[in-house]
């Protein structure tokens, strides 16, 4: 079974708008990571947030982590057509260091 679950499953926005997606997980973690996957390509790491961090920024990306709710969010600001992709959260479990992925959110940015 998947450790993380993303919400929503799919998101369609206009270029320039912000995109927000959420991830919930089940067990205690060392860190939570977000990845992007363009159609037919490999996964690319976007950002890692450690369990003792609450917020992290990288360019147009903002990630939050709430360990009490076992949830995280990824915000992409001022979206571009090139942001069209699937986004996955992955959790590094504290007890066994397994890196487990959720089912992903498919984001479509319309020009």
């Amino acid at each position: 079974s998947q450790q993380g679950e993303e919400d929503p499953q799919a998101l369609s926005i206009q270029e320039g708008e912000n995109a927000t997606m959420n991830c919930s997980y089940k067990t205690s973690i060392n860190n939570l990571q977000w990845y992007r996957q363009n159609s037919g390509r490999g996964l690319v790491h976007l950002i890692l947030i450690r369990s003792n961090e609450r917020e992290k920024h990288s360019g147009r990306l903002r990630v939050t982590l709430d360990t009490s709710k076992k949830s995280s969010s990824l915000l992409i600001t001022a979206s571009r057509a090139a942001d069209t992709a699937s986004y996955f959260c992955a959790t590094d479990a504290r007890d066994d260091y397994k890196l487990s992925f959720g089912a992903g959110t498919t984001v479509t940015v319309r020009a």
Binding site: N30, H45, L99
Partner: protein
């Protein structure tokens, strides 16, 4: 810096045949992962190695799948015999412990 190398990129086999995938991780990365990604789904962890020891293989169908990591570097994943439902992209990744994972381009397997 060289990335994670996987081969082959594509493979088509008939059901009940066997197939092997190869992965060369980034130099110095102790952790190596094999994932199966079925179209439209997230990557499913099949096996995770720490050096040449197995961290987790709870989702590896051991009656038909096997994996090894010789000398804690390269790894091979084998399926024997293949079933139609094994059609997927097989992704290899490597990382330093509890750090970002770097993925290869994957092997797209089609079982007919």
């Amino acid at each position: 810096e060289a990335g994670v190398a996987q081969s082959p990129r594509y493979k088509i086999i008939e059901k009940r045949q066997s197939v092997a995938f190869w992965c060369n991780p980034i130099s110095g990365h102790a952790t190596l992962y094999w994932y199966q990604q079925i179209l439209g789904q997230g990557p499913k962890l099949l096996i995770q190695f720490q050096n040449n020891g197995v961290v987790d293989d709870s989702q590896l169908p051991k009656d038909r799948f096997s994996a090894e990591r010789l000398k804690g570097v390269d790894s091979t994943l084998k399926i024997q015999p293949a079933k139609l439902e094994d059609s997927a992209v097989y992704l290899c990744a490597s990382s330093l412990t509890s750090a970002e994972a770097f993925f290869g381009q994957g092997t797209r397997l089609t079982v007919v």
